[in-house]
């Protein structure tokens, strides 16, 4: 005999009510008005023994009816066993979702995670199945659920063994995607396998704010998959991250870094400095940066002369150091050979070369070797010493022009400058340009100068000046130029023209190289170009164009694949920051094994290129996420139950089922009603 709702047995206390009513002295029902009580004295009421005997029967009936009612509400039922053995508990399918993102590298988190998983494993019953899934920015099933019929014994030890080999990665956290995918999988597997085992998702994570839960917004959480969230708390009281900001408009400007402090951080003072290696001593002279918790600050961090080879920015001042280093590929000075054909030996203030040398003199990124040549042999157009660019200041004869064409087709760049023989030289090189007489602008019309117009700012030569703040060329006057115009339908393009329609700068792509011709000189006796602020960027762009524009090394986050150049990928090898080398298959177009932050070196065609891989910025946002947020996103939260609690729950469920089958309470109610009818008849009978 069991009772489903024993609390209702408290209703038995109501039995005392009729008892009390029967025991207390009956006050007379009648009330008699009387003129005066001055002659009356109180007389005690008398009870006859006979009436008491009558009431005993009624009392018994009433007590029994009340007791039956109380028992009916307590929902009694008949059962065989009072306790449910733990072994008979229905099986569960427990999916353990373990966060292995970079933020789990903080002090103490991994040990806590292992302890939590051990707790879960210890609570598994023989009928329970378990799987272990790790997630960061991708999901990996370490141990899957057993198929039906497969032994589940030893599954926990298997998980323990795998867990010992796991360690946190450097990747970002995509909690939302992992939760949605695993929950959906648990839900569909229950359908597919027709399993009665109840699914359960146990998430072990630090639930940092940067864990990207957006994927849950579009996900409808399955009703029957409860999630138990074990949030781990790090012992590190503060955390800040550092990132280098890349100015797209001015890539060569003074570097700036952003220091981000986590919302729950206890520290506010940080130090940021350039470093060359892990072992380098800390720069004690680094200025302090104050960043309140939950905010970020951008500061300038000029690269000191002594740290030209520094490849990382280090931050100190916080407790968690997994995100304290930002890797930057140090700029590698490139050597560029410029061959200067013709011109005067003596460089004077009136010669174009004088201004060219000035324009390239202070370039830290590039080292320019200027080579004066008089003949084609001096140019050394083939071989390892081939110049990247040939500036032509003299008249060209046909053989030289042909040699330059071949050179251009192989990828070289030929820049004919404005000379009196320019038209003839260009005519040897290009066949779709027609030339006029050399013109002095002053003689043409009333105005004594020409200005640039129709500038093609989309072209790399002018792209740096495309911003409206810099795109005003009207202050640059041209007094003298060589009139050249492309013929209709020509492949030669005008990059910039003059007011009267003549070309100022012409370009023609020849094979893999190109020809860029200036019809006016930049020296002061022909124009104001060399003295204007536009000249240096223009020359730098010209050199970039000649060098192939490969100065920018890509910046990647961990896990992001590197697109490989289309050049030959034979014998391509990547050296990872830990020194290991990975060969790249010839047909690969990306390198995806960027699984740790640091400087990677790509050896391709005998050439070495470096690229930096850094942590995802969101990983630095380590303030704990409020778990209510997940509940608002639809995650069905569930407080974990031990096996004993589950057994108790299952027993209650079984009792409810038994009771609802037996319905003993109905008979008790019927009996109570019968007794009450009998009582009414007896009480109504005249004494």
């Amino acid at each position: 005999m069991g009772i489903l709702t024993p609390l209702y047995l408290a209703g038995l206390a109501a039995l005392s009510l009729p008892l009390v009513l029967h025991l207390i002295r009956r006050t007379p029902r009648g009330r008699q008005m009387f003129s005066s009580l001055m002659f009356l004295s109180p007389s005690p009421p008398r009870l006859t023994r006979r009436s008491r005997l009558d009431h005993l029967l009624l009392l018994t009936l009433r007590l029994t009816a009340l007791a039956l009612l109380a028992f009916a509400f307590a929902r009694p039922f008949l059962r065989e066993a009072a306790v449910l053995p733990l072994a008979e508990l229905p099986g569960r399918r427990v999916a353990i979702l373990l966060d292995t993102s970079a933020s789990m590298r903080r002090e103490g988190l991994w040990e806590q995670a292992a302890a939590k998983i051990e707790e879960t494993l210890a609570d598994l019953g023989p009928a329970d199945d378990v799987s272990l899934i790790t997630f960061d920015d991708r999901r990996r099933t370490v141990i899957d659920f057993s198929d039906d019929g497969e032994s589940r014994a030893g599954k926990a030890d298997l998980v323990r063994g795998q867990l010992r080999e796991l360690k946190p990665s450097w990747r970002a956290t995509r909690l939302g995607e992992a939760l949605a995918a695993v929950a959906a999988e648990l839900d569909t597997q229950a359908d597919v396998r027709q399993s009665s085992a109840e699914p359960q998702l146990i998430v072990v994570s630090d639930f940092a704010r940067g864990c990207q839960t957006e994927a849950l917004q579009a996900f409808r959480w399955p009703e029957r998959v409860p999630a138990v969230l074990h949030a781990l708390a790090s012992r590190a009281a503060s955390n800040a991250g550092v990132r280098l900001l890349v100015d797209l408009e001015a890539p060569t400007a003074e570097p700036r870094v952003r220091v981000t402090n986590a919302a729950d951080s206890a520290a506010e003072q940080f130090f940021v400095h350039w470093r060359r290696s892990e072992r380098q001593n800390e720069d004690s002279a680094a200025p302090a940066i104050y960043v309140p918790a939950g905010q970020s600050r951008v500061v300038r961090l000029p690269r000191p002369e002594t740290a030209a080879a520094a490849d990382r920015i280090a931050l100190r001042g916080d407790d968690a150091d997994f995100d304290n280093t930002f890797y930057v590929v140090p700029p590698r000075p490139r050597e560029l050979t410029v061959a200067w054909l013709g011109g005067n030996e003596a460089v004077t203030a009136e010669s174009p070369r004088y201004f060219f040398e000035l324009a390239v003199a202070d370039d830290t990124q590039r080292k320019i070797n200027l080579r004066q040549a008089k003949t084609a042999a001096d140019l050394r157009l083939n071989g390892a010493e081939a110049p990247a660019i040939v500036m032509v200041e003299s008249a060209l004869d046909q053989p030289l022009a042909d040699a330059l064409k071949v050179y251009a087709e192989a990828g070289g760049m030929v820049v004919p400058l404005a000379t009196d023989e320019l038209a003839a030289s260009v005519a040897h090189l290009l066949d779709d340009v027609q030339a006029g007489e050399p013109t002095v602008a002053a003689q043409d019309g009333k105005r004594s100068y020409q200005m640039l117009s129709d500038i093609d700012f989309a072209h790399p030569l002018f792209a740096a000046l495309a911003n409206p703040r810099y795109s005003d060329f009207t202050k640059i006057h041209f007094w003298r130029y060589q009139p050249l115009r492309p013929k209709p339908g020509a492949s030669t393009r005008v990059l910039a023209g003059f007011d009267n329609g003549d070309a100022a700068i012409l370009e023609r792509l020849i094979g893999r190289g190109r020809l860029v011709a200036f019809t006016s000189g930049w020296q002061p006796d022909e124009s104001q170009l060399a003295l204007s602020s536009k000249f240096v960027p223009l020359i730098q762009s010209l050199l970039d164009l000649a060098a192939g524009g490969e100065d920018q090394s890509p910046a990647l986050t961990v896990g992001e694949p590197l697109s490989l150049p289309r050049a030959s990928r034979k014998n391509a090898v990547v050296e990872k920051p830990d020194g290991s080398r990975v060969s790249i298959p010839a047909d690969a177009i990306t390198f995806a094994d960027t699984d740790m932050p640091g400087i990677y070196r790509l050896y391709l065609d005998g050439e070495e290129r470096s690229f930096a891989v850094n942590l995802a910025a969101a990983e630095s946002d380590t303030a704990p996420l409020e778990l209510d947020t997940l509940e608002q996103l639809g995650v069905r939260m569930f407080s974990p139950l031990t096996r004993a609690q589950r057994a108790e729950q299952a027993r209650q469920q079984r009792d409810t089922e038994l009771e609802s089958r037996q319905h003993l309470w109905r008979w008790l109610i019927v009996a109570a009603i019968g007794l009450l009818i009998l009582e009414t008849c007896l009480a109504g009978r005249p004494a």
Binding site: L40, P42, S43
Partner: protein, 284 residues
């Protein structure tokens, strides 16, 4: 003013009262010339004065008077009796006054005989406010203050109050020379206490409640009631007050007949006593 009632004063009437020896200053009109002629003695012949009655009806309207088991209350009975008396008296041209009271005076009409006065008396009786306890002192004081001439005071009450206080108050009235008649109105249930079911008895005046089993309490009640009634009778006797018990189950006309009969008999006795006294005086 002449009336049908004898007066304690001497005056003009056909009823001879006494002889008195002449003294200087007496009115010669009353000299008994025949006696002077016969015996040569100067005697003054005196006659009884006849006067109108000034009657004050005091009606108790306290809450205990609202008790009744006969279909009407004691107050109804008392008011009807007072109205009847007032009517009789006004018919024989006597002045009637009315005072109704509980623990204070409710209505007070001075004794008058004038047209419409009887109507006002009736109206005052008709209004029966819900009174509270019985207190005889204020109405009796009022009567003493306003009635300078002696007259008849008829008190209609159940007299359910301590006897000592009653005696004091009635004695005060009596000492002012008024003739006082007490008509004690009682319900038969009060007299006989015929209850058989135990009940919570509710005092109408004080609101007090008492659980009483009549079977147990009846004997004690009757004994104490009788003691109280006897004490009232004794007190009235001491004060020379006529006391008539009226039970409400007795028809009013019979009760009034008894009352008038007793009054008449008493009047004759008084007359007889007085004449006897005169004769004894005269004979001596």
């Amino acid at each position: 003013m002449s009336g049908s009632h004898r007066s304690p004063y001497h005056g003009f009437s056909v009823e001879f009262s006494e002889y008195r020896q002449y003294s200087d200053g007496d009115d010669l009109r009353y000299l008994d010339w025949r006696l002077l002629a016969r015996s040569d003695r100067y005697y003054i012949k005196r006659f009884e004065d006849e006067t109108n009655l000034r009657c004050h009806l005091l009606v108790d309207l306290s809450r205990s008077m609202s008790f009744g088991t006969t279909g009407y209350s004691k107050a109804d009975y008392a008011k009807t009796a007072a109205a009847t008396l007032a009517y009789f008296l006004s018919v024989q041209r006597d002045a009637v006054g009315l005072t109704t009271f509980d623990d204070k005076i409710v209505e007070h009409l001075p004794a008058r005989y004038r047209p419409g006065h009887i109507h006002r008396v009736m109206l005052a009786l008709e209004r029966s406010p819900d009174g509270s306890a019985t207190d005889l002192a204020p109405p009796l004081e009022q009567i003493a203050k306003t009635a300078s001439k002696r007259g008849l005071v008829v008190l209609l009450s159940d007299l359910l109050a301590p006897v000592d206080a009653l005696e004091t108050q009635l004695g005060y009235l009596r000492s002012r020379g008024h003739e006082v008649v007490v008509m004690r109105v009682l319900d038969p249930a009060e007299v006989e206490f015929r209850y058989d079911q135990p009940a919570q008895f509710h005092d109408l005046e004080s609101g007090r409640e008492l659980y009483v089993d009549p079977q147990a309490a009846r004997a004690e009640y009757l004994r104490r009631f009788a003691e109280h009634a006897e004490a009232i009778v004794r007190a009235c006797h001491r004060l020379g007050i006529d006391q008539f018990p009226l039970t409400t189950d007795r028809p009013l006309e019979l009760a009034l007949f008894d009352f008038l009969h007793a009054r008449l008999r008493r009047g004759r006795q008084t007359l007889r006593r007085r004449r006897a006294a005169t004769r004894a005086k005269g004979g001596g």
